[in-house]
């Protein structure tokens, strides 16, 4: 789906002969570079990418950009509103908000990347297996996925963290271990539709074994949708991490984290309301950036526009 109106490229009809079948497949594969060109034309995605690059830089070398130490509390100045030297003011124990926002990027991106990687990996493996092998494998795995998806995610996360004890590591693992189910479903659907495609059938007919088919045909063809899926998944995961920290079940002080900053803001919402603004804006912008990039990728890699 496009944020800005754009005409979709027309599909040209292709005759279904064996040679064109294979050619179709090859054309698909060399679509990467074409995809990039298409991506570049989608402005909001570019904006998202730029923002993300900035965030990445902030996350890797926050010390260069943060004006002050994010854990240094100036108790005399607690709760002070924004000023020229401290553009975002101070938090409830006198730490510089701006510096904490910048350092908070680290936690957000680390959790985002690691948890997403974990969730997508597990999800794709399970979903692809279910979709490809079908039969009882599919039944068992699908029921497993259904069970996990039946629990409201937040409820499951809260319960798990309460048992294990909150920390950065716990957050990553717990999120990764719960959200993979949704991606398994998507991966399964993709593989299912792919399985019936002519070139797969042709390959089976020629006598290729499962491994060969999976490696040479399935994987490259779901790679695109999987990448899109991952990018769109990150946003939700960032929000989940922030929600956990908001409830006090995420990273612990003095680590700067956007969700925890919102939790403190809530306690002092009447006296120091300014604390609540910046962390929320950062979370929103980051998730937005990932969503825009995801949209752009989807258009770029899958021109028929599956919505």
């Amino acid at each position: 789906m496009n944020l800005i109106g754009r005409k979709k490229p027309k599909e040209t009809a292709v005759a279904m002969t064996p040679s064109t079948l294979l050619a179709g497949e090859r054309a698909h594969r060399s679509g990467w570079s074409r995809g990039w060109t298409r991506f570049k034309r989608y402005k909001p995605a570019i904006a998202g990418l730029v923002f993300l690059c900035i965030l990445a830089v902030l996350a890797i070398i926050p010390g260069v950009f943060a004006p002050y130490d994010p854990t240094l509390a100036n108790p005399d100045l607690l709760g002070s509103p924004p000023s020229w030297s401290h553009p975002l003011g101070f938090d409830e124990i006198g730490r510089d908000e701006l510096s904490r926002i910048i350092y908070g990027t680290r936690v957000a991106l680390i959790v985002a990347l690691l948890a997403t990687a974990m969730a997508v990996t597990i999800g794709v493996l399970v979903g692809a297996a279910a979709g490809y092998f079908g039969g009882w494998v599919d039944s068992v795995l699908s029921r497993l996925v259904d069970t996990i998806m039946a629990f409201p995610t937040i409820a499951l996360l809260i319960a798990l963290v309460a048992v294990v004890g909150p920390s950065l590591k716990t957050t990553i693992i717990v999120i990764g271990a719960t959200v993979w189910a949704a991606y398994a479903r998507v991966a399964r659907g993709d593989v299912l539709s792919l399985r019936e495609r002519d070139f797969i059938v042709a390959a089976r007919a020629v006598g290729a074994n499962h491994t060969r088919i999976i490696v040479r045909h399935i994987v490259p063809n779901i790679a695109g949708p999987i990448i899109v899926l991952s990018t769109l998944a990150v946003g939700g995961i960032i929000i989940l991490e922030a929600a956990l920290s908001f409830l006090g079940l995420g990273v612990q002080p003095p680590t700067a984290d956007w969700g925890s900053m919102l939790a403190s803001a809530r306690a002092y919402i009447q006296t120091y309301p300014h604390i609540a603004i910046a962390p929320g804006v950062m979370i929103s912008l980051t998730v937005l950036a990932f969503n825009l990039i995801g949209d752009g990728l989807r258009d770029a890699l899958d021109p028929r526009g599956r919505d």
Partner: protein
């Protein structure tokens, strides 16, 4: 159709069974003596050893694991979810029963609001693709899924309750207390449903039978109402059914922020206070609800979709 229904029911049954095992298993995965977890610190200091033994026997903790499961399942099926250790002596069933109406009201209103706005908006956006309205609703929808609900909730409290004083800052003692939570809860669903409605509308509009209808000279309004809307609505309805799980998820956070005394807040507080029986019961009840909702959605869809109905 019948085959599908039977198969679907069986699947649902299996999932509920798996859920029950998972819920049952949490007790035994938590470190510590299960019976002490069940009775909490209150019980530990106040019950006599005989009473503790009674509790142990009641939940079958003195028997092998698989027997324990069936004992536990038996109690759950009868609605006996145990007793709270924080609200001493109160059956968990009663506690949940008390908190449920508020959550139900909240979610129902949020869902209705989301649907009432999202479906017309999505259809309109789909019909008038690339128009200003389309652009506008797309932007809105994208933001809807990007902005964390608890932050919007905080902003709403700051602006509407503290600065303007239009709404109460917490609780649902007056009807005004429902406004902010319902709005915030509906936002995310609104965004997703709008996007979906839009895309299915676009897809339907591109279908052959629409072109045929237009070619036949059918009035545009009839084309829209008889063919487009009905057919685009179908997939969206199923998605709404599947989104119940996410709605419940959102409820937990929203209720906590707005101090609404529903199941969500009950759950969070119970976790904070290690009121084990309540946590277990809430997780179980919510999951089963989700499964039932999905089941219902699938069956409704199967009935409506002639491709399945006629098999």
């Amino acid at each position: 159709m019948l085959r599908y229904v039977i198969r679907r029911l069986l699947q649902g049954f299996i999932v509920v069974f798996l859920i029950s095992i998972a819920t049952f298993g949490i007790l035994h995965l938590t470190p510590g003596d299960p019976v002490l977890i069940l009775i909490g610190e209150t019980g530990r200091t106040q019950l006599t050893p005989q009473q503790i033994q009674q509790v142990r026997h009641y939940w079958g903790l003195d028997r092998p694991l698989y027997q324990q499961y069936f004992t536990w399942l038996g109690h759950m099926a009868k609605g006996d979810f145990g007793e709270s250790v924080i609200q001493v002596g109160t059956p968990v069933r009663t506690i949940i029963w008390r908190a449920a109406p508020v959550t139900l009201k909240l979610n129902a209103m949020a869902l209705i609001l989301a649907i009432a706005i999202a479906i017309p908006a999505g259809i309109l956006a789909g019909i008038k693709q690339y128009s200003f309205f389309d652009y506008f609703s797309n932007v809105g929808a994208t933001f809807g899924v990007s902005v964390p609900s608890f932050w919007i909730a905080l902003m709403a409290i700051i602006i509407f309750a503290l600065k303007l004083g239009w709404l109460p800052p917490y609780g649902v003692d007056s009807w005004k207390g429902y406004i902010a939570p319902v709005l915030v809860l509906s936002l995310e669903q609104m965004a997703i449903i709008t996007r979906l409605m839009r895309s299915t509308t676009i897809e339907t509009l591109g279908q052959d039978y629409v072109r045929t209808a237009r070619a036949k000279g059918v009035a545009e309004s009839n084309v829209l109402s008889r063919h487009v809307v009905r057919n685009s609505l179908l997939p969206v309805i199923t998605v709404i059914g599947y989104r119940i799980a996410f709605l419940l998820s959102g409820t937990i956070i929203i209720e906590t922020v707005f101090a609404v005394p529903g199941i969500g807040q009950l759950f969070v507080n119970s976790v904070y206070h290690l009121d084990y029986q309540v946590v277990q019961a809430v997780v179980f009840v919510l999951s089963v609800l989700v499964v039932l909702a999905n089941l219902a959605t699938d069956l409704v869809y199967a009935y409506i979709d002639p491709r399945i109905r006629l098999t």
